[in-house]
Symmetry: D2
Subunit: 289 residues, 4 copies
């Protein structure tokens, strides 16, 4: 054993900590009406509080098992997951604060998969669905009394083939990129936003944010991803008074014109290499002034 060579034990203590269950895959069917509704959600539910006894002394007396956290998510979903995941997150935190003797708060994260109704014979079907790409994300934190809710969009991959450029930037020692006033603009939208009010119709807001992005993305010449971020933010804050500020994280999915001229083939912005890496990354908040 090498331990005998070590200095005396350091004096240490627990800092911030949390625990719970992650990747709980909850699926709920609302089947009271012939037209079924579904919720397909991955849940991560973590608890905060004074868990020093377990950490320092190995005393589990007051710990809720993470297996119990899982059971609870499914059990409460029965009656409490009726509208948005955001409201369900509040219910979960209320429960854990009340059930755990040492629990003083919680944070719950949701990844809700979106499904469209299947078009069968040209009609939207009552109980058949097709998975869509974009996801509805949500974070709920709180002490059981008050909550901070953040909602988001993930994996919304959008692209326009023109009406975008990148010009007039700084030229310095390591700059070699040529300017262009006609490029492909492609990004995978990751957005999250905070609310001005304590509660609202979270699902309606989510849909209005989606609509805002879809309407604004193609309707103007885009001089940079930075500008797109601002234009998106301004539009969302205009359409959604419930939102106090919004953050976007935009990978710039570069589509690089392939150099065919060297082989005697012209390439009038037609043939591109869709580069996977590296990618530009542009991130920021747009807030109310």
């Amino acid at each position: 054993m090498t331990q005998t060579q070590h200095p005396p034990r350091a004096q240490v203590r627990m800092g911030e900590n949390q625990y719970g269950k992650a990747d709980v895959r909850l699926f709920k069917v609302f089947r009271d009406e012939p037209r079924h509704e579904i919720k397909d959600v991955w849940v991560r539910a973590l608890m905060t509080g004074d868990f020093d006894a377990a950490h320092v002394a190995g005393d589990n007396t007051d710990l809720i098992a993470t297996d119990t956290v899982r059971n609870t998510i499914y059990a409460l979903a029965k009656d409490q997951l009726t509208t948005s995941v955001e409201e369900f997150g509040k219910a979960l935190i209320r429960h854990f604060v009340s059930a755990g003797p040492k629990v003083t708060g919680g944070s719950v994260h949701f990844t809700e998969h979106t499904w469209g109704r299947m078009l069968s014979g040209g009609q939207e079907h009552d109980h058949a669905f097709v998975r869509q790409m974009p996801k509805h994300t949500a974070w709920v934190e709180g002490d059981g009394q008050t909550f901070k809710v953040t909602s988001g969009i993930d994996e919304l991959y959008v692209l326009k083939t023109t009406n975008s450029g990148w010009e007039g930037y700084l030229k310095e020692q390591y700059t070699s990129l040529p300017e262009t006033n006609d490029r492909i603009l492609a990004t995978v939208v990751t957005a999250k936003w905070e609310y001005a009010a304590e509660s609202c119709d979270y699902e309606d807001v989510w849909q209005r944010v989606m609509n805002a992005l879809m309407d604004k993305f193609p309707d103007h010449y885009s001089p940079s991803v930075q500008n797109l971020l601002f234009v998106f933010g301004e539009e969302v804050l205009t359409r959604c008074p419930e939102i106090s500020r919004i953050h976007f994280s935009f990978p710039n999915r570069h589509h690089i014109p392939y150099n065919l001229e060297r082989y005697g083939v012209d390439n009038p912005n037609t043939i591109f290499h869709a580069d996977a890496e590296p990618f530009g990354l542009i991130e920021g908040w747009v807030e109310r002034a």
Copy 2:
């Protein structure tokens, strides 16, 4: 060195072999009309032939560099990728057989990402797009004169909340699953099909297969994934005379009713655990009789 302990060199030779470039990310814009069209394709192009000199003797004289394969894919896409990836695959193979002194054939695989037009202000946009989940796959093999084409669908995730069951199966020593006549049926469709004709409108066929799946999936009680496979196959072969046979690979994405009764909560087919693994896997060809 340990080699001196080894037996004499084994007498060996090259068996079947192929090489080329994989994960070539080709993006093409058709911009002659105001309403742009796009092709977003990942290409793998491999060549077969007599490459013994390179393998055995390290003589690269007759080898087309894989970097050249990449360049060629982009260069030929300019004029030859005008309709389907299937036809483009034939053009690529024709080229490599003609360009490589030792190349006698090729096989090309495509993963074509599907995009929908963005709905902006309620209208389909001319040059803005949103990525969809399902993919159009294709394999083209041949010697430059004749070709075998296989097309497919990938990552089409479908689910129905009722009208499916699993009953009457064999009960034996290790059987513990309860029967049910009302379960969730969920799968990610991976399909591929072969053609009766040498050539056809591959994109139209692909769309008809998609429609066949969407129309049939929910229109009947499904006693098993096996039966769904047959029903799908029959429908596709009925609607698509161009197709000689079709293969499906269906993961059974189990949605397991969560046992809430042990906590005093009833669960009338409402709360499910969407299990990630393991999964049932059902695969097979449906052919013309």
Copy 3:
């Protein structure tokens, strides 16, 4: 419904088909001795036979449920997974052929994760382990009497910084790559091999293949990935008389010297871009002559 527009039902039948359970995550501890041994395996077990009744008529009478397949894998592992996964695969197929009235054969695939003993205080520990990257893969097919066994290596990522080149290849219309006699050679080995004998010490063979690759990879100047494939094959077939032939699939993980000269910085084979895509792909069998 659009079906009324369709032609009469096509006459169809089932072709080749199979089903079973995939991604079964089996972990076994051998704890009879203080020095524990472990097996960490993902299993896919599929059955073939006459399953027409289920497919065509929805009659499940003779079907083993895939849930039963899962249970069986765990149950048989207790007594039958004692040496290699290859032998365990034979036991599983024997069982399914005997248990299923319509089962005539099976195919089982294993991905065995490799673990090293943890070095604690400089000693290999008896019951603590660290996950390694390479995997031991295996395929077993058969009718319960005779079997075809294939074994393999996956995710073995190797690299050498010199003693490799790419020169003398064909120059044609779309060739732009410069030649080099000093490049980085990097690949992720995916190998599989077939056996001359009906049975052998599969784990010992696997280790000898690994050693052959490690000894040969750096011991010579490599003119191409093709030549490396042949050199590897010859060495393995020399050291392992049990193996009849071996297949390698080599992605060429390109490390491209970054053009720093344009910024006045020299780059004597020092700074590289480790390109993720596209990649060269070189595949082939080496067989006994």
Copy 4:
């Protein structure tokens, strides 16, 4: 267009924001000596500052292009990446603050892949390497004068087959998990730590943290993952005076004894289902008291 129905533009402004390049795959060879050394690093370099003109007005005048960021990473690596990625991060931030008229700070993240020397003929090879699983992560933030450095370990997958339990926890309404004093403990270590000093030998510290984890993981009975977290933290802070505090994020990779008794097969802690999801998640800081 639906915009005419919208309320007047919201009054908005940019909040916190940053941009740069991500997933830059840098590979450096140190080849001055016959025994080569390598650095294999994925870099994300972001800049902060006053970028309002670009966001709000589309004026790119003072923006460093993200393509320039990429070029710079490769160019500076030539002379500045000589020891640790942590020191290289400081050099990058110093450069961007000096090169960008509006840049006031930066944050750089590294994922350094670890490689072991290949054992060929029983000897560590001079220029051949095998990829290992654990990664060295690092975050450097600063204004060009002072820096905050955080280092970490990722993808270190460890497991012990005994000497771990989970007992004495809270039993409440939704608790169904049985207690055990002999379970498998498995986790993928994600650690990060902060430093007390402005600079130190980061690579030596990283190795000492690794050794601390390896020595402590198996040397005691573990009553919970929480306790393991504390034991690890105490050991690291004892061995590494340079570290001020350390954070661990531990997924509890559950290995669940498979219920074979129902089939008449005993299972004395031998056969387990290695469950992929959900997983317990235990996170926390251990600090100096």
